[in-house]
Symmetry: C2
Subunit: 135 residues, 2 copies
């Protein structure tokens, strides 16, 4: 597969109670703001929020399954957590090829948005596409 600047792919998922519980177990991130409705009510967010890294995982899913897809080697990811994700929000991770570095590795813009089209995470990824760096 030949990657071109502007190529894009996305994937969406509703973040549920089960996701937050399973992610807490896998990550050991048992911060009360994710699990304790009473503590979360006192937090700046006013309610339980999903782990930021849980939504960030959707970016990895797009990279590893859609664009560039299986065989991609994930090298770098930057993440800015811009807004909280609440349970029940539907998050879309969108990945767009933005360039290639001097070694032919692909640079990608990575954005997660919620059902109101508000950006919740913004960042960039660097990967070796399947089959190795291009050009």
């Amino acid at each position: 597969m030949s990657l071109t600047i502007g190529d894009a792919a996305a994937l969406s998922k509703t973040i549920t109670e089960a996701d937050v519980l399973l992610y807490s177990a896998v990550s050991m991130d048992t911060n009360p703001v994710h699990l304790d409705a009473e503590a979360a009510r006192e937090s700046p967010f006013g309610a339980r929020i999903a782990h930021g890294m849980l939504s960030a995982g959707l970016i990895s899913a797009v990279l590893g399954t859609r664009l560039p897809g299986p065989g991609t080697v994930y090298l770098e990811q930057s993440l800015q957590f811009r807004r909280p994700v609440f349970l029940g929000d539907t998050i879309t991770a969108r990945v767009t090829v933005s360039g290639f570095d001097e070694r032919g590795r692909a640079q990608l813009e990575t954005v997660c948005s919620n059902q109101d089209d508000e950006v919740v995470i913004r960042g960039n990824a660097l990967v070796i596409p399947p089959g190795g760096a291009t050009s």
Copy 2:
């Protein structure tokens, strides 16, 4: 709690088959290199590997539960995936306060290492400590 440059905390976890399966379900990242032993054998890694973002979640766990701890607002994270994590590896996420920006937000070095003390992920985080930015 007052944060000081050099303050550090860590958390360790063995990455198991169950972690990889649960993380695949939560993240939708069903890349065969994580789930298909035959496909993984043909990959550059030679065997199934855990999702990079799964280990990265341990960094969030340290930030949210230990240092700075509950009440921390996670703003930014950079990640360099340096080495693969294989099933059965024990990953230690270590977070060290490295500075404060002009707005009093805490900058932290974030490193994940395996049981052989090899760095698997290196990066930096930016957070608002519990109670708000300092200084």
